[in-house]
Structure formats: structure tokens, C-alpha cells
């Protein structure tokens, strides 16, 4: 293990030197097995067969595919991108070894090195490498203001389910999770091992025919994560999955399903980086959260897909459907996202507040630079009585980028006493970028209380000069001011992510001034 570690350290240094424009722009040399280009029923059968899926799953996919063929791509978003040729992409790829790794020792060193290079999951890589996580829980770590130390100098526990291209390659902490009764595995595995749970909940939050991209995902999803937290269980660690796109022209169709039974709690972290590519890469993920009585899910994302180069060439097209269903009373969900990557982002993590007294929260930081475009926001659907929602959105546009906050707050007829608070702040850096706010509000119940605050400001030259006069470099000053602007959201992130997110803010805005 020590040898592996040293090898990685050396490799990391070399990589750091080699990388310039895009910090995470590299690809790992593992031969891939991929399905032929294009999309048809045979491809779907191929994917299903590769994953050794039961007949019901194949039927589900085929039905989705049939639906998809009748649908057309949504064009209402404030986004411009060339026509996507869905027949000109690969829909399945896996590392050649193709195997599931029973233990961490079986994971190829290359993959472990890849983890190291990603930078973001550094601590998780340490966990994978056998650095014993200590008793300090991530929750404790969050309360510690100094990012350089955790209580007793120990690492918070994070369990990692790595999705390398389309196949899960490593799952850690299984034993401890098993003791708590928490199921944390790839969705393919869950389809085989817990078909009753998957059958019951898959598509119950985001129906097969929900929207063009979700339907596409339903037909071709490659892998993803499945989490089940039994009644009354507080998940003993933060769960974390890292996604990577590693194969040119391979769409990523991740599928995540998390179920929190009565009175349970789980915090889930999702983060991703992608290698530098010239081709546009399609990413259409679906995330479904089911929250039952009195349960809570905290879902945090740091999204850092390749945004394209400074001239807008390349970059990921990211069409994501994320939805949480607070299905029973007193359920709570909290989405926190830091969106810095992708050429095009289309994403509206939503909360269906069905149970009485249920609570939905959405905290978002979206940063666009150069030619990036983002149309993102949330939907809060208030169905139950005394349901509450809170939206804090911080958008930062720099370069020639364009950004739209699009949000819906909908209060249904029976939602007596519903409340929403929305705050949308936009910060512009430079004179060539754009920020738009499109808040939709529908209310059918007069008892609803809705508050909306919105601000748009420009990063001021005076503030920048003030910081520089005190000794900060121009880019450090921008990062400091922007991190200050985002504080309300950053503090909602688990500590593990907050530190990374602050660094990401700086990296994302490099070259945005001067």
C-alpha cells in the first residue's frame, strides 16, 4: 500500500505540471469495452444483457425507449447549442476488465491514481488506500471551522461508491453500513439483489415519460447509485459517489435512487470532473429521492464537468432531472449544489412537498465563465398542509457566459399554511456576461405566504482595488469576494465539500478579470 501511495504522489505531481487550462483535463488509459455507436432496441438489449438484468428491467427500458421516440427535445430554456445527433454517440462503455472489485486491493492502480488526480476525492482516495477513517463523524467535522483539522486530527468518514465510466469499481465501508442496515451499492447490483425495492421505487418520483432527457436516461441508464436507509436509522457516515466521463463520445446516463424510510437520515455527496475533450459530451442523469415520514435526505453536489475551452469549444452538455418526493408527513429534503462546470447546464432539482409539514430546501451556487451557459433553478411543489420551502440561489456570471435562474413555486389548493422564501442574487463580473431571473409563482390557496427577494450586482472595481491594496492578487481578490457572495450557500455544504467548493470558485473564475 505504501508503494502505491508514493507512486500516486509522484504521478500527481507530474500530472499537476502537465495540466494547464483545465486542471482535471486528463484521461486514464484503460481500454474500454463499448457498445456500437447509435441508439436502437438492440443497443438497449446489449446494455441490459451486459448488466445481467432481469426481464422486467429490460421491458422497462424498452418501454421508455418507445416513449422517447415519440418525444422531442425541450427548447424553452435560455440555451443555445447545436443540434445533438443522438445516433452519433456511444451509449455504453466499461473499463475492459469489466469486473466488480470485491476488495479495494483488486482495483487497478491506474484507477486509484485517477482518483488522486481528480483532486476532489483526495480524502476519499485516502480512505480507499486504507487510511483508517476515525470515529470523528462528518457531522462533527462540519462544526469545526478550521478546514485543516478535524477533531483529534482524524478524517471524517466517507463511504465511496466510484462510478468509473459506467461500471462501479469500488465500494467501501460496506461492513459498517451493513451493520446499520443501510444498502449502498450500484444500481445494477441493486436491480439484481433487491429487485423488490427497485421495482417499487424506480420511476416513482421521475416517471418514465417525465421529460425527453429523463426518458432517454430510463432507456439507456448505464449505472448509478442505490441507497436504502431503513426506518429509524441515521446513516453512520456521509455517502459519496464520484462520476467520471472517461470515454470520448460516451454519453453518461447515471441513475440514482435514494430511499429514506420513516425517521431515517442520510447525507449524500455527489461530485464529478471530466477529462478534456473536443467533442461535446452528452450527460443526462436522473436522481430520484423518496423521503418517508419524518425522514431527511441531504443531497450535496459539486459539479465540475469540463466546461469547454476559453473559446467555447468542447465541454459537457448536462441535462439533469433531479427530484425529491417528500411522500409522507414531516419529511425533509435539502438540495445543495455548486455548479461550476459543463458547457451547457439544464437542471432543476425539485421538491414535491406531498406530506403535511414537509420541508424542501434548495441552496445553489452557479458559476459560469467564458462561453458557458446555465439554465438552472428549482421547483417547489406544495401539496400538503403547512409545507415549507426555502430557495437561496447565487449566480455568478463572468466572461461571455450567460446564466438563467428559473424557478417555480407552486401552492396547490389543499396546501393550507404553505410558506416559501426565495432569494436570488446575481453577480456579474465584467460587461460581456448575462444574468436572468425567471421566477414563476402559482398559488391556488389564499393562506400561502410567499416572499421573494432578488438582487443583481456587479463585482465592483472599488472592492477589488480595496482587496488588492491590502495585498491580495487580483484573482485571489475575485475569489474572496465571490466566496463571500456565496457564503449563505457554502455554509450549507458538508465541510468536506465546502473546502473543495471554495477552491473550485477560484479555479472557475481564473482569467475572468483584467
Amino acid at each position: 500500500m505504501t508503494d502505491v501511495k508514493q507512486g500516486i504522489a509522484k504521478e500527481t505531481v507530474e500530472t499537476a505540471k502537465a495540466l494547464e487550462t483545465y486542471k482535471y483535463g486528463f484521461s486514464t488509459d484503460i481500454e474500454s469495452v463499448k457498445a456500437p455507436k447509435g441508439l436502437n432496441e438492440d443497443i438497449i438489449r446489449y446494455i441490459s444483457a451486459k448488466k445481467e438484468e432481469p426481464q422486467w428491467m429490460l421491458d422497462w427500458r424498452l418501454e421508455a425507449f418507445q416513449r422517447w421516440q415519440t418525444m422531442s427535445e425541450p427548447r424553452w430554456a435560455h440555451l443555445t447549442y447545436p443540434e445533438i445527433d443522438y445516433q452519433d454517440a456511444y451509449y455504453y462503455a466499461e473499463p475492459k476488465s469489466g469486473a466488480k472489485y470485491a476488495s479495494i486491493d483488486d482495483v487497478p492502480e491506474e484507477i486509484l491514481q485517477d482518483f488522486e488526480k481528480l483532486g476532489i476525492p483526495l480524502r476519499e482516495a485516502e480512505v480507499l488506500l486504507g487510511v483508517k477513517g476515525a470515529a470523528a463523524s462528518a457531522a462533527e467535522a462540519r462544526t469545526n471551522p478550521d478546514p485543516n483539522s478535524t477533531p483529534n486530527g482524524e478524517k471524517p468518514k466517507v463511504a465511496v461508491d466510484a462510478v468509473f465510466d459506467s461500471v462501479s469499481v469500488a465500494t467501501t465501508f460496506q461492513a459498517e453500513l451493513k451493520k446499520a442496515g443501510v444498502i449502498f451499492m450500484s444500481i445494477s447490483e441493486a436491480i439484481r439483489e433487491h429487485p423488490e425495492l427497485v421495482k417499487k421505487y424506480l420511476g416513482s418520483v421521475v416517471p418514465v415519460s417525465d421529460n425527453f432527457f429523463a426518458t432517454l436516461n430510463s432507456a439507456v441508464f448505464s449505472d448509478g447509485t442505490f441507497v436504502y436507509v431503513p426506518a429509524g436509522v441515521r446513516c453512520p457516515m456521509e455517502l459519496s459517489t464520484y462520476f467520471r466521463i472517461n470515454e470520448a463520445n460516451t454519453g453518461q446516463f447515471e441513475r440514482t435512487l435514494i430511499i429514506a424510510e420513516k425517521g431515517s437520515y442520510v447525507s449524500y455527496l455527489e461530485g464529478c470532473t471530466a477529462p478534456m475533450r473536443d467533442e461535446n459530451q452528452l450527460h443526462a442523469a436522473v436522481v430520484e429521492l423518496v423521503i418517508l415520514e419524518g425522514a431527511e435526505i441531504k443531497y450535496s453536489t459539486v459539479q465540475n464537468w469540463y466546461p469547454g475551452d476559453k473559446d467555447g469549444v468542447g465541454g459537457i452538455y448536462n441535462f439533469v432531472t433531479k427530484r425529491a418526493d417528500c411522500r409522507e408527513k414531516n419529511a425533509k429534503v435539502s438540495w445543495t449544489q455548486v455548479e461550476t462546470g459543463s458547457a451547457v447546464t439544464w437542471k432543476y432539482p425539485s421538491c414535491i412537498l406531498r406530506g403535511d409539514n414537509s420541508v424542501g430546501e434548495f441552496y445553489s451556487i452557479a458559476i459560469t465563465n467564458n462561453h458557458q451557459q446555465a439554465d438552472t433553478g428549482t421547483k417547489m411543489i406544495h401539496l400538503g398542509k403547512n409545507t415549507k420551502s426555502r430557495i437561496i440561489s447565487k449566480g455568478i456570471s463572468a466572461g461571455k457566459s450567460d446564466q438563467t435562474y428559473r424557478g417555480l413555486v407552486s401552492i396547490h389548493r389543499k396546501a393550507d399554511g404553505a410558506r416559501n422564501f426565495t432569494q436570488c442574487d446575481s453577480l456579474l463580473i465584467g460587461g460581456d456576461c448575462g444574468a436572468h431571473t425567471v421566477p414563476y409563482v402559482e398559488t391556488k390557496n389564499p393562506s400561502a405566504i410567499l416572499e421573494h427577494e432578488a438582487t443583481t450586482s456587479k463585482l465592483s472595481e472599488e472592492q477589488l482595488f480595496y482587496c488588492q491594496q491590502r495585498g491580495l492578487g487580483e484573482e485571489e481578490a475575485v475569489a474572496l469576494l465571490v466566496n463571500g457572495f456565496c457564503r449563505d450557500v457554502l455554509q450549507e455544504l458538508p465541510m468536506e465539500f465546502a473546502v473543495e467548493a471554495q477552491k473550485l470558485v477560484q479555479v472557475s473564475l481564473e482569467g475572468s478579470v483584467g
Partner: protein, 254 residues
């Protein structure tokens, strides 16, 4: 020492500083006085390197280092501090975090070791007592919702902590009551003390009034009018200006 030779500064289309020369030797405090619009703040910004304040001619050196081509942060690392007339607010960034980040950025640029959070806190709390800022204020976002007087105290706190080689104080006295003026005097006099390295430190105090100079004894006073220094003299010049005003220089400036 700070040396300014034949400085010309243009803001937008107009020339504001029109051939200004000034030398402040190490260990001395010089005051610059002058009517509104004479170019006092422009001088301060140009020396600090603010963009939009274009030096079209002339040289600025600090302890023999040429500042002209340096970015504002490089000038700060070289030891230049500007106390702002209207200090900025920085939402979302706590006071102590801001000052420590800035101080460490300077130290890093000078090749010095960064100061640890604990060490900084001890040191900064002691200085905060001197300038009259409570611990609660130090935990708040930088200057957000602070009164004008508190913002000036924050400038003095930073000056005390950073202990710069040279400080320009741009109307630090404006809007301050008598107690606060005394505090400003205490901070400056502490930094001037020989045991605190005062012999190698210089100050340029920009002010309209003599009252600050009752607390900070200047070695020289310069009168700035229409972008030039029109008169220089000893401390007694301040009293004279207080009595006769700046009208006497109107003709010279034109």
C-alpha cells in the same frame, strides 16, 4: 522613504496631478492639505496603483523600489498601505478572515512564512482593543453595517496589524469624534515608536483640518492646489492655513 518625482496623473480625459514632486524620508510624517478637488485622493490612488489613475509621467519609488509598474498587491507587499477615505464593505467575509488572508498574501509575496490562525488572533485582538473594536465586531462580515467611524477604526486596525513601511492616510479624520481622533493618533504614534521600527517608517497624512495634526505631529506640511505642491513648510503652516484658508493659493494654482 517615499519619493515622488514630477508626477502627472490623468483620470479619464483630464490631468489631475500636474507635475508633483515630494519626498518623505524614513521616520517622518508629512501632511498634505489642500482645498477640495486639488487632487489629494488622486495622489493617494495613483501611488497605490488603482486602475483608471494613469501615471503619464514621473516616478514613484518606495525605499528605492520603483512602484510605477507594480500591481496594487505588489505595492502592498512592498510595504505600502492606504487608509481609505471611504472603506469598502465585503459581504460574507468575516473581519478576521479578511485581514489574515490579506496579511498572509503579502507575507507570501515577500517570501515570509504565513502566520497561523491562532497566532494572528492573539495579535489582532490586542490591536483591536487599541482601536476600540469589540470581539463581536471582529466576527461580523467585513465592514458590513458598520458606522462611518467604525469603518475608520477598521482601517486603523489593519494599519496597526500590517505595520507597513509607508502609510498614506486619506482623510482618516473625516467624520471622527474627538476620542476617535485620539485613537488614530495613538495608532500612528505607536507605529512611530523606535522600538516598533518607527525610524524606518513613513506617513503621508491627507487632511483638511489641523485637529488631527494636534495628535500626529507632522515634520512637514505641503499644500496641494490644482495638482501641484504650492507651498511646503513646518508644522506652523497648519495653523496659518486654519486662519487664512486656501484662497491665498488660488492665484498660484491658476
Amino acid at each position: 522613504m517615499l519619493k515622488i518625482e514630477n508626477l502627472h496623473v490623468t483620470v479619464g480625459e483630464s490631468e489631475i496631478i500636474k507635475g508633483l514632486s515630494l519626498e518623505v524620508p524614513a521616520g517622518e510624517v508629512h501632511a498634505v492639505m489642500g482645498p477640495n478637488g486639488s487632487g489629494k485622493s488622486t495622489l493617494a490612488y495613483a501611488v497605490a496603483g488603482r486602475s483608471g489613475y494613469e501615471v503619464t509621467k514621473g516616478d514613484i519609488t518606495l525605499n528605492s523600489k520603483a512602484l510605477n509598474e507594480m500591481s496594487p498587491d505588489e505595492r502592498a507587499a512592498a510595504g505600502l498601505f492606504l487608509s481609505f477615505q471611504s472603506p469598502m464593505e465585503i459581504p460574507g467575509v468575516a473581519v478576521m478572515n479578511f485581514i489574515r488572508t490579506a496579511l498572509n498574501a503579502q507575507r507570501k509575496q515577500r517570501g515570509e512564512k504565513e502566520i497561523s490562525a491562532a497566532e494572528f488572533l492573539r495579535f489582532a485582538r490586542a490591536k483591536a482593543k487599541v482601536v476600540g473594536l469589540s470581539d463581536t465586531k471582529l466576527k461580523r462580515p467585513f465592514n458590513v453595517g458598520f458606522s462611518g467611524g467604525e469603518k475608520k477604526r477598521m482601517e486603523m486596525l489593519q494599519m496597526a496589524i500590517m505595520a507597513p513601511a509607508f502609510a498614506i492616510m486619506d482623510e482618516t479624520d473625516s467624520g471622527l469624534d474627538i476620542d476617535a481622533l485620539k485613537m488614530v493618533g495613538d495608532v500612528v504614534n505607536d507605529l512611530r515608536a523606535p522600538e516598533n521600527g518607527g525610524a524606518s517608517r513613513g506617513f503621508l497624512v491627507i487632511t483638511h483640518y489641523q485637529r488631527l495634526l494636534d495628535h500626529i505631529k507632522p515634520d512637514r506640511i505641503h499644500v496641494l492646489a490644482d495638482g501641484r505642491i504650492v507651498k511646503s513648510g513646518g508644522p506652523e503652516l497648519a495653523a496659518e492655513l486654519e486662519t487664512h484658508g486656501y484662497d491665498q493659493f488660488a492665484g498660484e494654482a491658476a
